[in-house]
């Protein structure tokens, strides 16, 4: 956090309206790919593919539309702190609920659903 250097405020990004429209098109294409993917039988690959594609969209918007790529580092540090912590807590919670013996309370039959966390994480981490 000790960015002492007087990083002069970079006014805006070098991107032009044209670039922005191109980025918008690419994002649209990714969305269409996602849509198609969700209809195709991809088996176990589906979820990682979808998560990866939406991560790409997420990062593109943050870096290019929100100009994080061209701004002082401190801003990236602030945002990444929140995004990473939120992701960790999300994964932690899903993991805990997968391992929650009290779950029987709801009388849920894992075959008909059960905790999503159980299915997802159990599947990929083999735990």
């Amino acid at each position: 956090m000790s960015t002492e250097a007087q990083t002069t405020e970079s006014h805006g990004s070098p991107l032009t309206p044209r670039d922005y429209i191109k980025i918008g098109l690419i994002l649209t294409v990714i969305t269409i790919v996602e849509l198609i993917a969700s209809y195709v039988e991809l088996g176990a690959l589906l979820i990682p593919i979808l998560l990866f594609l939406s991560l790409v969209k997420f990062v593109a918007v943050v870096a290019l539309f929100m100009h994080l790529k061209y701004e002082a580092r401190i801003l990236t540090q602030m945002f990444v702190m929140g995004a990473v912590l939120a992701t960790c807590i999300l994964i932690g919670l899903l993991y805990l609920f997968r391992n929650d013996p009290t779950d029987a309370l709801g009388g849920v039959d894992p075959a008909s659903g059960g905790h999503a966390a159980r299915i997802w994480i159990g599947h990929y981490l083999h735990i």
């Binding site: 429209i21 979808l50 401190i74 801003l75 995004a83 966390a117």
Partner: protein, 198 residues
Amino acid sequence: MSEAVTHAEHHTSTGVDNRMLMMWIFLASECLFFGSLISTYLIYQGESLVGPLPGELLNIPITSASTFVLLMSSVTMVLAVYGAQHKEFLMMKLNLLATIILGTIFLGFQVVEFTEFVHHGLLLSTNQFGSSFYLLTGLHGTHVGIGVIYLISLLIGSSRRNGLGKDAGLNLEIAGLYWHFVDIVWIVIFTIIYLIPS
């Protein structure tokens, strides 16, 4: 104001504007807000004791359309920011207007979707899906709504005699940050709720 004033007030220690820094830290906080809501949704996925269940209700093609609308609103937003920063105020205003309209259309889609679901018997209290779905998407919609109002007030402000003043670029940039953030939250929600089969 004399000379001896205020040099400390215009430079910041990091070179980043105070409001800009605050917006980014606030967005970090918002990550945790939506993170908790999404966690809840996922934890309760498959926990509904009675229907209707997501598979019976979620309409992926229509939601893809609304996702597209929100995505386009990000493009127009970033163009509005570009306009403000390069003093092309007509471009700024038109794109701001377009963003507002697209945002409103997105909200319209959401209203239609909610009404549809209610018709099929999914109320807030029906089951775990209803509770966690409405809370998550409803609070996201609230954010969009606040964003629309935020942008409308900027549009009104920019049509005053001296527009948004010398801070126009910064003002729009900050509003844009909020708007894009709401968009990326939707990117995540769209994938997690709609695309990934439950």
